[in-house]
């Protein structure tokens, strides 16, 4: 064990003494900050723009023209302004009225083509087409009924990312249509406006009892944001920590192989001791960086009074799962390093591992929406995603029963041991192999035959 610790100590020192390590500790939060800042700036800049949309009104006499203009005016002058600060929170709209074509199918198609081409040229962001019969009341069509465009409003655009206008148009057009229908039935327009006045739905976290003062504390706006953000932050942190520790270790193995240091080492330690020592070193590196980030995160949380979310059990679970994840993924990546002849070759060989590693990120949305749902539960018990997804589930309210992460730890522990064992075998064969391209099949064979 003394030798294992000697390897671990060297790996740890070699990693933390590099400039890259210091840069990553300092730079990563800075880069994250910058990227968030840039996104905020871009969306702010977009808020200041005016977007043009074409409208083809096929109702008799173009009954929407004036009404839509009024709605757009209200949108631009009232709706997009923050009621407290008066700041604009979204882009303004501008309507280009396009006279409708003749009502036959061919003419309509030709006009749509012409408008589509104009949109592609950049004349406007999209175009809205209001069917001629939208004011008519009819029974809600049943499933399977043939759609009738004359009773519908359609919005066409290839700007898939632009989501503001179609939603706004749906609301604005429907308000107008409903008003018309009420008025047609003899209800006064003022009364309809009053009836249609929307009520705000405000989304919050949970109200809590303060254990110290005994007072009931209403949910803050921030707590809900935190409920969403904390699982995501912890998953991302774990992902980055594993990579930050394991990637340099993998490069280190490649270097040891290229510089023929591996043979010297193998003259003194077994491949398993070497691998174990390196993994412990990587765990040390990951925990060191995590310490910095969690400490920094705690300081930020304390500043906003959100420290209650970062509980001691949460941090302990994070450490446990981080250690296991480093062992699991680190051993596989090191096996890749031992098998590859150079850094370029590692790119191909590490692909499957990276895909498995990013899986939990893809499931993150589902897990946060429903931490007790089937996807989340099953995902958090697949050993390769357990560390990240179980962490997310622990962090998302209401949390999970203690036995779940405990079972998860057992599963990951078993998998990690299997990975370290398999990787150790690849390690021994791969380290001495020079100048031969290695494929994934070779790795599997080495694991089986040793």
């Amino acid at each position: 064990m003394h030798k294992v610790w000697a390897v671990a100590a060297r790996e740890y020192k070699a990693a933390v003494q590099t400039k890259a390590f210091i840069v990553s500790i300092v730079m990563m939060p800075v880069l994250w900050g910058i990227s968030i800042g840039v996104q905020v700036l871009i969306s702010k800049a977009e808020d200041q723009t005016t977007k043009k949309y074409a409208v083809v009104d096929r109702t008799a006499g173009g009954q929407f023209g004036a009404i839509l203009d009024a709605a757009v005016k209200r949108h631009n002058e009232v709706e997009i302004l923050d009621p407290q600060t008066g700041e604009r929170t979204g882009p303004a709209f501008e309507i280009i009225h396009v006279p409708p074509s003749a009502g036959d199918r061919d003419a309509i198609l030709r006009q749509r083509l012409e408008l589509s081409q104009r949109q592609q040229r950049g004349d406007f962001v999209g175009f809205l087409e209001i069917g001629p019969n939208v004011f008519e009341m009819r029974v809600r069509p049943r499933i399977g009924d043939k759609l009738d465009e004359r009773y519908e409003v359609r919005y066409q655009s290839d700007k898939v990312g632009d989501r503001g206008f179609d939603r706004w148009a749906q609301r604005a057009v429907n308000e107008v249509i409903q008003q018309r229908r009420f008025v047609d039935k003899g209800v006064s327009q003022e009364l309809v406006r009053e009836i249609q006045q929307p009520v705000w739905v405000r989304t919050k976290g949970l109200t809590k009892l303060n254990p110290v003062t005994g007072a009931i504390e209403d949910a803050s706006d921030e707590s809900r944001v935190l409920n969403m953000a904390l699982p995501a932050i912890l998953i991302a942190l774990m992902f980055v920590m594993v990579l930050l520790g394991a990637m340099p270790a993998m490069q280190g193995v490649v270097e040891e192989k290229q510089q023929r240091i591996a043979e010297v080492l193998l003259g003194s330690v077994t491949p398993f001791q070497l691998m174990l020592g390196k993994l412990i070193g990587v765990v040390g590196v990951s925990l060191t960086v995590s310490g910095f980030y969690l400490g920094g995160g705690y300081a930020v949380a304390a500043r906003y009074g959100l420290t209650e979310a970062l509980t001691l059990p949460l941090i302990l679970w994070f450490v446990v799962f981080l250690v296991l994840a480093v062992f699991m993924y680190g051993s596989l990546l090191m096996a890749v390093g031992a098998a590859a002849g150079d850094m370029k070759e590692t790119q191909t060989l590490q692909m499957p591992i990276m895909i498995v590693m990013t899986m939990p990120m893809l499931l993150l949305g589902a897990v946060i929406r429903d931490p007790a749902g089937a996807i989340a539960v099953v995902g958090s018990f697949i050993p390769f995603s357990t560390p990240m997804l179980m962490m997310a589930r622990i962090a998302a309210p209401p949390g999970v029963a203690w036995w779940q992460p405990a079972l998860g730890v057992l599963l990951v522990l078993a998998t990690s041991l299997a990975c370290v064992w398999a990787a150790g075998r690849v390690f021994r064969v791969g380290l001495l192999l020079q100048g031969k391209g290695v494929r994934l099949g070779d790795l599997a064979r080495w694991v089986v035959r040793g």
Binding site: Q259, R260, I261, V264, G267, S268, V269
Partner: protein, 304 residues
């Protein structure tokens, strides 16, 4: 004398290629054992198997009396052919690390003594990347012996060293033997092998072809070599009766005699061709034996 290394019927193949075939060898304690053989003949594979870096496909290897490796690992030092040092570590750091990997916890005094001995004290705090090739080779040597091993395996220890460092290293190896360490080293320098080794082992195409003391090996070949120097340029030695091969070293010519050829007759034939300044009947050099084995086609002799 008890054996430091006992190899019995060891075989190792890499895929279809046999690297070592049915090899048996006993290296006595406190001796210097030289491994010779052409490139790719199986020297390094044998050394790696003794070090348990490679596992033999068949046969047994006993090192320092033990078959299990974990009990003797720390008592064996290994200098691989390709030198491996972390470029970013300082000389002292890397020596402490390698000593720790051999189970030596307090290595400071031993490291200082070796640095002094090999004239590296001034470079102790330098990074490995700042060292010359010869210096890093000496550092690697210290790393091999710093933990006071009972057995050291040196794969080509002298390659790439200048004459001064060569001398320093040779003395260090001889001192190790005096202190009771068994030394196995491989070399391509037959002169070094002749001068330093108590025993010589030659492997060719994975098989043992020579094994014993220099004298016993040379005896097996008999006194079939004549070294001569004639006045003049020494041309025109071909066609002498009973001479199968002439090797011209410039100032000296080496003649290999037929089995049964009479040296006296060669001498008289030589005297007819010119003034003989030097005539010496001798045993073949290790270099000559090596070449006879490794180039059988050119030598007109069967493969040993």
């Amino acid at each position: 004398m008890p054996a430091a290394v006992e190899i019995e019927s060891v075989t190792k193949a890499f895929g279809p290629q046999t690297a070592v075939a049915d090899l048996s060898l006993a290296v006595p304690e406190d001796s210097i054992y030289g491994f010779i053989g052409p490139n790719g003949s199986g020297k390094t594979t044998t050394l790696r198997m003794i070090m348990r870096i490679l596992h033999p496909d068949g046969g047994t290897i006993r090192v320092l009396g033990e078959e299990t490796w974990s009990s003797v690992n720390d008592r064996v030092g290994y200098l691989p052919e390709e030198r491996g040092l972390y470029k970013q570590m300082s000389v002292r750091e890397i020596l402490r690390y390698y000593a720790a990997l051999k189970g030596l916890r307090d290595s400071r005094a031993a490291i200082d003594a070796w640095l002094e001995r090999l004239d590296l004290t001034a470079h102790a705090t330098k990074k490995v990347s700042a060292l010359s090739k010869g210096m890093s080779q000496k550092v690697q040597f210290i790393a091999t012996v710093v933990a006071r091993p009972s057995l050291v395996l040196l794969d080509e220890p002298f390659s790439g060293l200048d004459p001064v460092n060569n001398e320093v290293l040779r003395e260090a190896i001889l001192d190790l033997r005096k202190a009771g360490t068994t030394v196995i080293f491989s070399t391509h320098d037959m002169g070094v092998a002749e001068k330093m080794c108590d025993f010589i082992f030659m492997i060719y195409h994975g098989r043992k072809v020579l094994d014993g003391t220099l004298e016993s090996i040379q005896d097996a070949y008999g006194s079939d070599t004549v070294r001569v120097r004639l006045e003049g340029d020494g041309d025109g030695l071909e066609g002498l009766p009973g001479v199968t091969k002439v090797t011209d070293f410039g100032r000296l010519q080496e003649l290999r005699l037929d089995a049964g050829a009479d040296p006296q007759r060669v001498l008289s034939a030589l005297m007819e061709r010119g003034r003989v300044r030097h005539f010496e009947l001798t045993r073949p050099s290790l270099q000559d034996i090596f070449v006879r084995i490794a180039r059988p086609g050119l030598e007109g002799e069967p493969e040993a």
